[in-house]
Assembly symmetry: D2
Homo-oligomer: 341 residues x 4
């Protein structure tokens, strides 16, 4: 398509993150146009679409069949990703999908293959790559100032108190939904290398009452890369101080650290010392990163730049998550090669 | 006007800051529509307008006469502000003007009167009020945690090296264009109080060769407020490390500080210690503040919120700047009441 | 004296700061020996001396006459400095005196002359020169990375709440006891230049009830240096957040900032954001600087290094303080040359 | 002993750290007296002793037999610790030993038993407990603001470039000499809990040429505590930016982080952004912590306070190190109970 026309986007999945993304696309992305919001919960679709000047749809097939739709943004539950992505690709629609690409590796492979066959863009929502601090960390890796990475760290802590319902949360959520970000971040900060081994530890420390049922809310994962680097990924479902997302890459040339939950550069000095505020939500802390990744998606759709992170990046992160799950299940180190498809 | 329609804006003045603002309005403000770009330099107007899907105009009268224009954004040289603002008000157009409101007090009063008479919004571009750190500082003043302000500081240092031409720079530029921001910031951080006395010092330290001609590139201004607070405003045309904008308000309850030129939260640790990058331009450091002030302007035009900072705020800052100029001319402390209109 | 023997010190003035200094000398300075503590309040002298293994004396003449005393440390009220210093010099004793050297310029000159005539060391307790951050700031001035200083700032805020008694506090205390530190710091950060003009502003903002009596608890002083640099010195008797001592030197090469009240590098992240503690006392924040200045004094006594800051530095800071007082009295800018002796 | 008399200390081992410690004790500890320096390398002992006003000895038996010696400080190679400590205890001497207590668990147990039997103090040199930031972190754990620890981290990176000789470095040095600090730190930040399982990973990334010989210069160790907390200990022999020692404890109430290599609070702003310096040596970064731990030792000797960290703390850290070594040897998670004595 010519680059002067806005990319016409239909968003599928009008939940919390879908609402954020639809609004960001409609209000802050001059290169795109939000044409439809799809959700089987018609009320939700209608409310969001009306608010943003788009049309509501109950069924994704309507937008996949619509020649006036160039691309879809997938913000449904992960279990629905595979079908949506494959169908969209077949319909010639470009796809931006929230992480994880899928929860099953075989399905992830199918998505990548479908997009490749159709020649459409498939981009995965690993937003940290677009956060200024993480992007800057990658630049000092790329320019050689970090040298060869030797020790890496990435962590995600959701703002507390935890108010989820363990009974309604799939057991492997911490790996497939949370740590998947860290697995991608670690690959991003150690470019050109791949993970070879995973040793994962996890438990229900926030909700020990749900431990018996297999619930996991706290985890720490050790990774080995093929360039020798060691890495740690860490997650918690509840940080009292807000949303905490950090990265660190240490090499034989130096170290880059990224990530701060600061809400602004204001500091208050009072009787209790010095204090500054922290972000309470990903949509707050990473809002500009979300906008930037959609801008990159539009550029990829227009053929102006490659889609990054790619479907393959989504597969790689999922492989690591799957290896971590196997590691927890079997209480041992797992080679990436062992992960079944 | 009803709040669902975009406010139709014509921007007048297609220079550096005008180009930034036009782009921000066209690309990042879903509540506004950039309909025209005005500049007597037709090439500049045409290039910018075409790029942003607006129409070019050589003469502001065309947009003032156009019923399809709701508001104008003034980014011309300050000498042209008075006529444009008064004419726009007469034509029933809302006005957002870059600082300073005007360079002469009598003209500033005329602008305020014209807007009042026409019942249109007049907002002045004191962007720091919209920078997250400064806004947060004001909040801890408002919530009482700073107590009664006693000592304040605001500074502006332009990124160096200085590449301006002293011969083409009006003598009082440092007061009327640069420190005018700090004068507003100090009023913003000491709400409800007004400046009573000004003692200003200034010199050509960056370009001492231009001192003889009266050029001033470095200044420090002492202010007294009617609640007793002392304040310092400081400016330099050349900071090697980038664009430096900071504020500090100290009271009997505590202190708030704001302002950091950091480009991201990334820090690099290397053989020379730890380092982070700084911003090199106001349009970089304060980009989101600019977008936020336009969003506030649109809300004011729609009648959803008051226009802040108002034309009166523009007058007050100009009074201080004029007192500072008088103080430098006469090497003495000047009362605000002495400033002639 | 040979450098292997400890310097035998008598401390005169067993008040708050004298007790701190006596303890630091006795416990942390292996190159010195505290031999006597002098105070007309015999109980105070005895308690402190006994605790530190020194002998108490009620009258300084006893230690000045004692050949086993090499040097005295003066921590009496400033009004007693002149007589003590001159007598000590006549007795051949080296002198370290807390700031201010004296409160009257003529007396300060006498002290310097007496020390010069006797060939003894006279060092003034401007402790910030020995604080690591300020010393490091001076180094980046000396190594050229700041370039020519253009704008400087130094401030002192005592920890609040203010519990002094305005009726028992000499009117000019804020200049002679507090800002005298900042005047020296500004000279220290702009080496080779001297102050030429002073414009001072001051008021009773913390204790407005004492304003009528002439009490001053908040002040801001503008200084001009002979290399063109502008400087600001700022003081308050009450900062709720603790003891605040900061310096900033900005030049055509860059800027150095120093000063942080942090008690440690620990940061606590909790529901209210991120916070760290601040120092509540000079003897806490600057303890190591005090020890370092005594170590430097001992080196000077042993002839291993020059005494810095010198008596002349004490005179220069006092000249500025006297000019500031005159400026407040006459509400005008005062040239250093006007300061009477 | 009565608390007014200085504790008479003989230091055994006049190497790099021994020289630092002897000097600190002689010059900065008014509650102690350095009476002897022991080293079979008579030149080293003599040089150091002479410099500090102590007597040199070639054989530790001389000081153990000396009734004028109250305590010894052990800074010899770790292989000599057991004999020295046991003999000293038998001789009724109090013992401060640098870490590790010993390299073999059975020997560590013997040391603890010998000290208990003799009723002498046995303190181990885990200096971080005395660094202000780490001590403050422990305080916010103790006061409940961190809540129950869930995720901890401690790391040690020696300043680079690495100039050691792999051939002369025992294979397990990174665990027994470096990470032993982190194992203690993690126990210190999770008080009342003990480690139950260890999974260690290590490699020669800095000197891959020495990998074949079994050399290890980079390691990451995962620990599980009996209160459920997960912890990571990380070490590298070469950080280009200096000596890096950090700790982090995250719990259901909040997080405390400690550790910064900053040399002062000075920051330099220049054309490349903002930078501050970092420490290049433990004896620089942790100097005040070393002095503080000796002061605590003296207090323990005088019976004024318990010896902390105790010999038992030394045993616990060594158990973890031994488990980590076993984990690396067998590439599996190791229970603390498996560690042989």
């Amino acid at each position: 398509m010519t680059s002067r026309e806005p990319v016409r986007i239909a968003l599928v999945g009008a939940g919390r993150i879908g609402s954020h993304h639809a609004t960001a696309i409609a209000h802050e992305l001059h290169t795109a146009e939000l044409v439809a919001v799809v959700d089987p919960r018609v009320d939700a679709a209608t409310a969001l679409a009306t608010d943003l000047g788009a049309r509501p749809e109950a069924d994704a097939r309507a937008v996949l069949a619509d020649p006036e739709v160039d691309a879809i943004v997938v913000t449904t539950p992960a279990a629905l990703h595979r079908d949506l992505i494959v169908e969209a690709a077949k319909a010639g629609k470009h796809v931006f999908t929230e992480k994880p690409l899928t929860t099953e590796l075989a399905e992830a492979d199918e998505c990548v293959a479908a997009a490749a066959q159709a020649g459409v863009v498939l981009q995965v929502g690993f937003n940290r790559r677009f956060a200024p601090g993480f992007a800057a960390a990658r630049r000092v890796v790329d320019d050689g100032r970090v040298g060869t990475p030797q020790l890496l760290r990435s962590l995600t802590r959701d703002p507390g108190p935890y108010d989820g319902d363990p009974e309604r949360t799939p057991l492997w959520t911490i790996f497939l939904e949370t740590l998947i970000h860290d697995f991608d971040t670690l690959r991003f900060l150690n470019p050109g290398s791949e993970v070879t081994e995973v040793t994962a530890h996890a438990d229900a420390l926030i909700r020990p009452d749900a431990r018996q049922a297999g619930f996991l809310d706290t985890s720490i994962v050790h990774l080995r890369f093929d360039n020798g680097a060691f890495a740690t990924a860490e997650a918690s479902f509840s940080a009292t101080y807000g949303y905490d997302v950090r990265g660190e890459v240490f090499g034989d040339g130096g170290m880059a650290v990224a990530g701060s939950g600061r809400t602004s550069d204001m500091e208050y000095y009072g009787p209790d010392g010095v204090a500054y505020g922290t972000s309470r939500a990903d949509t707050d802390l990473l809002h500009s990163a979300y906008v930037a990744e959609f801008a990159a998606f539009v550029e990829a759709v227009r053929g102006e730049a490659p889609a990054i992170p790619t479907g393959e990046d989504g597969v790689k992160a999922l492989e690591i998550a799957r290896a971590a799950i196997l590691s927890v299940q079997q209480s041992r180190t797992v080679s990436l090669g062992e992960v079944a498809r």
